[in-house]
Structure formats: structure tokens, C-alpha cells
């Protein structure tokens, strides 16, 4: 036994330099894999002139960044923010009370409602939105902000409802029971006990809704185009047209809010909160 322990110790000691090298290689490889593609965006966004096969651009500049703050792109940016703000407000207004009810009460035909809210996550959305655009044409809201906002509300809702339910489920029920035992009504208990406790969770999930709407692509393209453009759609068009600089600047503008959110809320980002990010 003692022999085994010594042998093991020796093995550990001998492998230390090897282990450090391995770890270093892991860091280098990870940075390469993650930042490699992203570095392309950053370099291209500052490249005035970049001809193959130079590793770096022949001349640098910020003229494409300046372009981002006027004309079409500014327009798309403002559109996107406007749509995202309205979407977030409406989604939160719909899903907070509903999530509370789903977390705490028996509701009629609950299984049906659960399936209704779960299934949209499991089916391809492009063919669905294609048919929705026909409906919206009939209602005269295709190619308009109203139509895009409606799609975003629907798409963000099916994710946010589950986030909100888990927020309310994580609040200890005893606190609400205490309120009831003091004679508080259902409504009062919700507003005075459950809601204040849920505020951090609600803020986190409404930020995710905001980000989802800001990044949403398929629905905006199917319903909004060609009249309503947001940055992802604008970016897609310019990347497909090989306008590398414009596309890269737009990409970075789209990406920055998400990265900031990741940095600020790293600790709060639980897996169940983030399932919407598998789709955008």
C-alpha cells in the first residue's frame, strides 16, 4: 500500500511539467477557437483596405464605424431598439402574472396549456413564420413594425414564460403562506410578497427577452422585409453581398450588448434561463 502511494506521488510529480504544458496548450487552443473567428470581425471593421494575402489590412481607419451611425444602419438600429423595447414590455406584462399563476395555482386544462407553450420550441420556425406572413398580409401588418413586434412577442414569450415560472418556483412558498395566514388576499399576496421577491429574476429574464428581440433574425426577415429592417437583417444582407466591413461593423454592434450582459450577469445565468439562446 505504501509502495503504491509513493509510486503514485512520483507519478504526480513527474507529470507536473507535462500537465502545465497541457494546460497551456488548452488555453491557447481555446482562445484560438473562440477568438479566431471573432478577430476577423474586429479586424475587418477597422480595415479600410485589405487585399489577400496580407495578414493585416493595408490601411486602417474608422470610416466604416462612422457610416454605422448614419443612414440605413442607424435606421435599422433604432428600429431594432424600438421593437425590442415594446416587445419586452408586452412580454413581461403577459408572462409575469401568468407564470405566477402557473407556478402556484391549479389552472384548467393545464396539460394542454403546457403543451401549447412548449411545442413551438420543438418545431422549425421558418415554415411557421412563412405561413404567418400570409396571415399578416391579410391583416395588413406584414412589412410593418406591428407585424414584426407581434412575431417577436410570440417567439420571446414561449421562452420567457418558462424562465418566469422558474423564478416564481424558486421563491419559498412559506412566505406567501405567512401572508395568507395574516389574512392577505390572493392579489395582495402577489403584489406585496411574491412580486417584490421576484424582481431580480424578472429583470434578468426581461433583459434576455430584450436581447432575444434585438438578435432575432428569421421572424424579422419573413415578416418585416423588405420594409422593416433590424440590424441582423441588415447584417445578413451586407454579408451576403460581400460588404465585409459593413457586415463586420454591424456584427460587432449586434454582439456587444450580449457580451456585456454575459459579463454583468455571469453568476445569474442559469441553464434554464438561457434556452432561448439556442435559437438565435
Amino acid at each position: 500500500m505504501a509502495e503504491y502511494a509513493i509510486g503514485r506521488k512520483q507519478k504526480l510529480m513527474m507529470s507536473r511539467p507535462f500537465k502545465v504544458t497541457l494546460k497551456l496548450m488548452a488555453y491557447v487552443l481555446t482562445c484560438f477557437v473562440i477568438f479566431g473567428p471573432l478577430s476577423g470581425l474586429v479586424i475587418w471593421s477597422f480595415a479600410e483596405k485589405w487585399h489577400w494575402p496580407a495578414i493585416f489590412p493595408q490601411s486602417w481607419g474608422i470610416s466604416y464605424w462612422l457610416k454605422a451611425f448614419k443612414g440605413d444602419m442607424m435606421n435599422s438600429f433604432v428600429n431594432g431598439i424600438e421593437i425590442a423595447v415594446i416587445t419586452t414590455i408586452i412580454v413581461v406584462a403577459i408572462s409575469v402574472p401568468l407564470a405566477y399563476v402557473m407556478a402556484r395555482y391549479r389552472i384548467p386544462i393545464k396539460p394542454v396549456i403546457m403543451v401549447l407553450f412548449l411545442l413551438p420550441q420543438a418545431f422549425p420556425s421558418l415554415p411557421i413564420f412563412a405561413n404567418l406572413s400570409v396571415v399578416f398580409y391579410r391583416w395588413n401588418i406584414a412589412g410593418q413594425k406591428t407585424g414584426v413586434i407581434l412575431v417577436h412577442i410570440g417567439a420571446a414569450f414561449i421562452y420567457s414564460i418558462w424562465t418566469m415560472v422558474s423564478v416564481f418556483q424558486s421563491i419559498p412558498k412559506v412566505l406567501e403562506d405567512a401572508a395568507y395566514s395574516m389574512g392577505a388576499s390572493n392579489i395582495r399576496t402577489f403584489f406585496d410578497v411574491a412580486l417584490p421577491l421576484a424582481v431580480p429574476g424578472i429583470i434578468a429574464s426581461s433583459l434576455l427577452v430584450f436581447l432575444y428581440s434585438l438578435d432575432e433574425f428569421t421572424g424579422t426577415l419573413m415578416i418585416g422585409s423588405p420594409f422593416v429592417k433590424t440590424l441582423p437583417v441588415q447584417m445578413y444582407t451586407s454579408s451576403m453581398g460581400y460588404e465585409m466591413q459593413i457586415a463586420s461593423v454591424t456584427s460587432l454592434i449586434i454582439t456587444i450588448p450580449g457580451i456585456l450582459l454575459l459579463l454583468c450577469f455571469e453568476r445569474f445565468m442559469k441553464a434554464e434561463y438561457l434556452s432561448s439562446f439556442g435559437r438565435i
Binding site: 473567428p37 476577423g40 495578414i55 420543438a122 421558418l126 415554415p127 465585409m244 454582439t255
Partner: protein
């Protein structure tokens, strides 16, 4: 014991939420989902069986003649990307849990917040024939500058871009599952000299199959329904992802019949996954 009696006297908290207030809370959401998802979903079935204003199987016949290979291609591309993502998720996720390496964990989570459209463009700048990687490799003489290798558009590029984006999501979900495994099992295994690989294979994996299955389903559907990356990494000729075919049919040919037949096929491809997902999630809810 006293507090239990008090609890019993409380009004029944699990009482049903009927009445006007309940309806006001529940109905808007139900109507929203019915309009945005259920109606268009049903409409695609109806439209797929209509040709020249009457009921027919014409659209499906056309699909089987023209798009059969694309259906196969879509399945293969989703399956291979899923395999890559799950392998990365399980082994890197397992390693990150065992080594508790927060820095690498943070790095791997970055792609989660980068939308698919941006990923498509980023991978293009990086891996295109005249992209950054070839330029770098060219400097050290590994790549022929005159005719840089062009493998990125089509199958390979799509798989790489999809894998790059979703590995963060897979890590998030799988590490969440691994996180709930009791750490003392790992410690015990380590004391007996189990390697990292063994700890993953024999402890972490068997204890979290259920959650890993759900993650796989979610990721598979996200590949099946992806539009932006497959469009940006696609090649003009050769087989196409079903979503591109649908978009093409609608946008350029205004042919909703065939587009919806393709859509219905994509629903069927997602159906198995959807059922597994639903059963698992509803079971968890109790």
C-alpha cells in the same frame, strides 16, 4: 407540531384559478400562441395538400422527385453537427467540471451570446478561401497562396459554424446536468486513481443521461430549423438545407404548396425529437 395545524387551516393555495381574473391572465397568452404558432402550423398542412385550388398530393410528389436528397442532406448535416457538439459538450464539459476551470468555462460560453447570423459571417471571415486562417497558414507556408483551399462553403463550413455556435449551449446544458451530480462520487473515484476520462465516462455520464437527452433534442431542432448559418455557409449548387429550399420556394417562386410540403417534412423530422422533449419536460414538472 403546532405550525402544521396552522398550515392546515390556511386557505387552499392550490385552488383553481378560474373566473374573470384567471381568464384575463391566461387567455392573452393562449390567443398569442394560437395566432403566432398554431394557426400557421395547421395552415402549412392544409396548404401542402393543395395544388391549383384543389386537394392533391402533387406537392409531395414534386418534393419526392426534386428534394429527396435535400431531406437526407438536412438530416445528415444536423446529425453530424449534433454529434460534434455533444462530444465537445460532454468531454470539455466534464473536464471543466472536474478541473473547476472558470476561465475556460467563461471562454466557451461566449458563442452563446453571438447570434447565428453573426456566427455565419464570423466563420466566413475566418475560414473562407481568402480568409484569416488561410492567410495565417500561408505565411508559414502551409497553404498555397495561389490557390487557397476552398472547403468552407457547403457541408464542412455549415457543420463548423453550427458546432462553433452551439457548443456553448451544449456546455451550458450539459454542465448544468453534471453540476447536479454529487461531487463526492468524483472524489471517491479520484482517490482510487480514476483518470478524468474515466470519471466522465463512468460517473458523470451515466448519472445525467436524461438531461443530456433533452439537450441533444433542443440542439438537434436548432440545427434542423437553422436558416441564417446554412444560408450564409451554403454553396450555390449541390444539395441544400431544407430551410433554404423553403425560403427559395416562397421568396423567388411564390410557391407555397411545395414550400409547405417541405415544411411539413421538416416538422416530421422534428417530431420524434419533439415527443422525447415533451415527455421528459412534462414528467419533470410532475
Amino acid at each position: 407540531m403546532n405550525h402544521i395545524k396552522i398550515m392546515e387551516k390556511l386557505p387552499d393555495r392550490r385552488k383553481a384559478c378560474y373566473g374573470l381574473l384567471g381568464a384575463v391572465i391566461i387567455l392573452p397568452a393562449v390567443i398569442l400562441v394560437l395566432v403566432i404558432y398554431v394557426y400557421p402550423f395547421l395552415q402549412s398542412f392544409i396548404s401542402s395538400f393543395q395544388s391549383h385550388g384543389s386537394f392533391s398530393f402533387e406537392n409531395y410528389k414534386y418534393v419526392s422527385e426534386v428534394y429527396a436528397y435535400d431531406v437526407f442532406y438536412t438530416i445528415v448535416i444536423s446529425a453530424i453537427s449534433l454529434l460534434c457538439v455533444m462530444l465537445i459538450g460532454i468531454f470539455i464539459g466534464g473536464y471543466l467540471i472536474i478541473s473547476e476551470n472558470k476561465v475556460l468555462e467563461f471562454l466557451f460560453k461566449i458563442p452563446l451570446f453571438i447570434p447565428f447570423v453573426v456566427v455565419g459571417h464570423a466563420i466566413r471571415t475566418f475560414l473562407a478561401p481568402k480568409g484569416i486562417l488561410n492567410s495565417l497558414l500561408g505565411q508559414i507556408g502551409l497553404v498555397n497562396m495561389e490557390s487557397p483551399p476552398d472547403f468552407i462553403y457547403g457541408f464542412t463550413g455549415t457543420v463548423i459554424a453550427l458546432t462553433w455556435k452551439q457548443m456553448a449551449f451544449a456546455l451550458l446544458l450539459i454542465m448544468g446536468a453534471f453540476e447536479s451530480v454529487d461531487k463526492s462520487y468524483l472524489e471517491a473515484a479520484r482517490n482510487f486513481g480514476a483518470s478524468g476520462f474515466k470519471q466522465i465516462k463512468d460517473i458523470l455520464l451515466p448519472l445525467s443521461w436524461g438531461s443530456i437527452g433533452v439537450s441533444a433534442v433542443l440542439i438537434y431542432t436548432s440545427f434542423l430549423q437553422n436558416f441564417s448559418v446554412v444560408m450564409m455557409m451554403g454553396k450555390g449548387d449541390g444539395p441544400q438545407h431544407l430551410m433554404i429550399d423553403i425560403y427559395h420556394r416562397i421568396n423567388y417562386l411564390n410557391d407555397y404548396g411545395v414550400a409547405n410540403a417541405l415544411g411539413v417534412i421538416s416538422y416530421i423530422l422534428a417530431m420524434g425529437a419533439a415527443i422525447i422533449y415533451l415527455r421528459k419536460v412534462l414528467k419533470n414538472d410532475g
